[in-house]
């Protein structure tokens, strides 16, 4: 059996005296679409941000592709990774944010080509070619020169996905990618994500879109109060939840 793409063992995280994650254990297999659902404040976004070390875990171990996140282990001792090493690891993981976080001073294409040129040092002409293809793929072939502010929310989020894909990541993290969108625009973003899943991208998705989780998800985890309450295949869990808390949550969102 191959190494899981993401593996968490007893991951804990506190902000001050508030414990947000109280021991998370899970595994995300390669080419899997892994959905995290749960009420706000349940720690799902925090867990996602731990995966690319935007937040540091306080206890437990978190592995991406078999390698410890943010630290190097020698014997019993942990050594913090240098900035450069953290950056190198992050560059292999794509992330899509709830509020898009596109660079407003750059065009759609400028957003997409920024990191491959600046971080990977690829040649500009190669990256521009790839960037244009990616924008075509997310359905924005005619918007290369548009600035983010000239695009709708759904279009911005699709640029953000193209921007993450331009780094050719092995893992994609989605932090409530459709929560800030008008209901009418949710579909276009989910379509792009569905296409990605079909191409075999490993994805960890924090979402409130139960329909997406059921159709596209390979595994789903319900979190509440910093712990995993229930996990399983989306079809079973979303239609026939076992746990009381899951039942009450699903009855409200479905």
């Amino acid at each position: 059996m191959s190494v899981p793409m993401v593996k968490a063992e007893g991951v804990r995280k506190s902000f001050g005296s508030v414990e947000v994650l109280s021991g998370i254990d899970l595994e995300v297999a390669r080419r899997e679409v892994f959905c995290l659902i749960g009420p706000s404040g349940s720690g799902k976004s925090t867990f996602l941000r731990c995966i690319n070390h935007l937040e540091q875990v306080n206890a437990g171990r978190l592995y991406v592709d078999g390698e410890l996140v943010g630290y190097r282990q020698k014997g019993e001792k942990l050594y913090e990774l240098r900035d450069r090493e953290v950056c190198a690891k992050r560059s292999e993981i794509g992330m899509v944010f709830q509020h898009f976080n596109l660079f407003p001073h750059k065009t759609a294409l400028g957003n997409v080509i920024e990191a491959p040129i600046q971080v990977k040092g690829e040649s500009k002409s190669v990256v521009i070619e790839r960037g244009k293809k990616l924008l075509d793929r997310v359905g924005l072939g005619s918007k290369h020169d548009a600035y983010p502010r000239q695009l709708s929310g759904g279009q911005q989020q699709r640029v953000a996905i193209a921007r993450a894909l331009a780094m050719e990541p092995k893992l994609m993290l989605f932090d409530e990618p459709t929560s800030a969108l008008d209901p009418e625009l949710v579909g276009e973003v989910l379509d792009v994500m569905r296409g990605l899943a079909e191409d075999g991208m490993t994805m960890v998705v924090v979402t409130h879109e139960m329909g997406f989780a059921r159709e596209v998800g390979d595994a789903v985890v319900f979190m509440d109060g910093g712990v995993i309450v229930e996990s399983g295949s989306p079809r079973e869990m979303l239609t026939n939840p076992q746990h009381e808390r899951t039942k009450s949550f699903l009855s409200k969102v479905l």
């Binding site: 690319n52 935007l54 900035d83 450069r84 950056c87 190198a88 690891k89 992050r90 560059s91 292999e92 993981i93 794509g94 992330m95 944010f97 509020h99 976080n101 596109l102 660079f103 407003p104 001073h105 750059k106 065009t107 920024e114 990191a115 600046q118 971080v119 005619s142 918007k143 020169d145 548009a146 600035y147 983010p148 502010r149 000239q150 695009l151 709708s152 929310g153 279009q155 921007r163 993450a164 780094m167 008008d182």
Partner: protein, 326 residues
Amino acid sequence: MDKVSPAVGTESGQSAGSAPVVAVPVRHPGRWVSAVLIVVLIAMLVNGLVTNPNFQWAVVKQWFFSEPILKGLVVTLELTVIAMFIGVVLGVVLAVMRLSTNPIVSGASWVYIWFFRGTPVLVQLLIWFNLAALYSVVSLGIPFGPEFVTFNTNNLIAPLVAAILGLGLNEAAYMSEIIRAGILSVDQGQTEAAQALGMSRLKTMRRIVLPQAMRVVVPPTGNETISMLKTTSLASVIAVTELLYAAQIIYGRTFQTIPLLIVAVIWYLILTSILSGGQFYVERYFARGSVRTMPLTPIQKLRRRFGGAPLPPAREAPAPNLEGIR
């Protein structure tokens, strides 16, 4: 319905319920009174300028393009550019230091700003000018160890160097606060997005945060530059022959004080006007992406008003494709 003016009520259809609004506008007598008052005051001012012989316009004209004045003008410009350059570069460094998590580094920046903002720039200029009295030689070497090169302070700190140091270092304190405000104005999500893409702290700052901070930084920096242009006149106190001192040297000899001060005033006004114009274009450049349509340049406005030719789309901001905006 035959009196419908073309500007009103054409969009809402021709139904009987949508009669055009034809109303008597409100009168504003106060506006007329104040306008007349101001016109009279202006007329008095102009009359005074023209008829009072003490202005000695002939003398103003005689010296306006004279060599000493033009040389002083060049020194004023040099001082402004170099001092602002030092101010901006050092200001960026101080602002980044101030935002550092290392307490010694941010503390050092705080102390610098505290000192240079807390003392008058004139006093600072005098101290730099008289530095030789404090340290007679300046040496390069290992701290507390051997010295490699030694300079005589009086040779090193000529009046112009003292002025550049005094104005530039003082400006850095103000610029750092302006730049810090700019950095803080950029959304935290921008840094996160850049970091998630694997960009280092330095690249994130240089490529993502600072360009966006510029939009907030540019307007006050324009003010600082204009203010600096005028503050350079303080260097006259330490015998730097800039515009004001050049004028003073002449009227010290000819006693034509007012006309020469007027020469300086007109030159300062010309320079600050040019700077204000430049500020508009710089602001416009850094606004790209943050507004949907660019403000028109004065030339574009003129063309729109008088020329029939359609405007070329502004290069920095392609015309927004409206189908994408909701």
